[in-house]
């Protein structure tokens, strides 16, 4: 699955995926296999602890920042 498809299918979720294929020049995933998707970050973190996959990707697929919020760190 392409990253854009993952973002559409798992909207507003924390997604952990295996990188199956990458653009080797730009170091960007071209094909992903979703391991876990959840609205709750800690569920994605638990899946991350358990997986033995060596080439991972993690994304939050919602708006950053959420609508109506501002960011300051």
């Amino acid at each position: 699955m392409k990253l854009e498809e993952v973002k559409r299918k798992y909207k507003d979720q924390w997604v952990l995926a295996e990188v199956l294929k990458e653009d080797v020049k730009m170091h960007k995933p071209e094909s992903l296999r979703v391991i876990k998707a959840s609205k709750n970050r800690s569920e994605m973190e638990e899946a991350m602890k358990k997986t033995k996959v060596k080439h991972l990707a993690v994304y939050y697929t919602g708006e950053v920042p959420k609508k109506g919020y501002a960011l300051a760190f």
């Binding site: 990707a57 939050y60 760190f73």
Partner: protein, 139 residues
Amino acid sequence: MLLPSDILSSVEFNSTKNSILVECKFVNREKSLNTNLVLDTGATTTIISWYLSNSLGLEPALSKEAVPFFTASGKIEAPLVRVEEVWVGSVVVKKLEVIVHDLPQESGVIGLLGLNFLRNFEVKLDFRKGRITLNKWRK
């Protein structure tokens, strides 16, 4: 004037959004992890979360280096670790120091790409085209 050979990497970002998310790839101990970090020129050091650092085998809990740093909500202390490689597009910074700190879940932010990465390049942000260009330093 920049010559094409000076441009090391050019990556896209969505300039209509309220933060600049940059696709990054971390490589450490034969593991890799792709994610989006918020580009933050106000962050002195790149920050990644505990779950990312653990999955890369960085073992922040065992780090002997802790860094006091100021956030918007006050002063805290967090482990400092070194990542073997951090890639943005086709450019890499090796042995990059990163602070390990979880940003609030509600923010949706996984980490910050800070000055210690950016200062290795001449950085051009083009909001019209939605592109970040990382160039060689001009002598």
